[in-house]
Symmetry: C2
Subunit: 189 residues, 2 copies
């Protein structure tokens, strides 16, 4: 990568988030984002297929790391636990401050195009978890259920964590959500 | 509605599904769909905001019926059960034959634009369930969890039902999935 492009990704993301907040997501174009970041439009499209992709620049790396955690989990006997532990144990701080993640989350929630993109990333993550569990010898039906439900359980804990007034423990929040689930699953079914 | 438009919705849907299957979703335009259906493009846009909306013409009515079922559930003590019962108890046959639902499901799975739309409809359904449960006095945290997890449990049962060789009982499949969940929720959490 040519030297002048150093830091382009970060500059593009910062520029995009600024513009999304200033003038709204629908009114912002790739050309405007590139201009604000001081790079060419061509550079924008080297990093992103479209402007919807900007908040998900880390999604591929994130999914790989999370699926890897499931693939190497010590004990696979409780697959639902394995999935929630993989998610809660990830170093979410490595994706930026909690405040920046909170702003990103609000931006996604406010824009259907971004929410759709977010949901499809969750779906793909579920596919990856299901596949990793099956490769570990987990029954396919159990793998699918643990992957899908585990993500929902974690999502609720993450929402609580990212929007909390003070800094809470994401692992503890996730464990609490899993306990809640154990209490509401109908007995004797 | 003028008399000549009678049946336009059904004709548009059938035309769209034919074209999606013949030439693929990306290559098909609203103009082509309207032409095949023998209506004006303006009529197409009276029914659908875009071509992505075609497979979801029933989504609003479906959501209303499902949320209504939760709102009027006899016993709200087991909210996860209430959600899965509302979903499994719906008359899915009223949306078309199982074969047509199977083709619709394959079409959605094969096209990211449709999958995104499908996922956001699921998300909105979850919002509706959560809201209905809260209005019935269910603890907000439980309501959210039951709504999200209940949809995942049902989705897996529905996939099994819609793609099965022979006609299975969707309620029984959903109950089996809920039992599976009861078995994989970590004990003592």
């Amino acid at each position: 990568m040519p030297r002048w492009e150093h830091g382009s990704l970060e500059r593009l993301q910062r520029a995009a988030f600024e513009l999304f907040e200033e003038q709204g997501f629908p009114a912002t174009s790739a050309v405007q984002i590139a201009e604000r970041a001081g790079v060419t439009t061509r550079t924008f499209f080297r990093y992103f297929g479209d402007k919807e992709e900007v908040p998900f620049a880390d999604a591929g790396r994130l999914r790989a790391a999370l699926v890897e955690a499931v693939r190497h989990a010590g004990d696979i006997a409780e697959p639902l636990h394995v999935v929630t532990l993989a998610l809660a144990g990830f170093d979410w701080g490595s994706l930026g401050s909690r405040e920046s993640q909170r702003r990103r989350d609000l931006m996604i929630a406010a824009n259907p195009e971004l929410l759709e993109r977010d949901l499809i990333k969750q779906q793909q993550l579920g596919d990856g978890f299901g596949d990793a569990l099956r490769r570990r010898g987990v029954d396919p039906d159990v793998a699918e259920l643990a992957a899908r439900v585990g993500i929902q359980v974690f999502r609720i804990a993450y929402q609580r964590w990212v929007h909390a007034e003070r800094d809470l423990d994401l692992r503890a929040l996730t464990a609490a959500e899993l306990s809640r689930l154990a209490r509401i699953v109908p007995v004797g079914t």
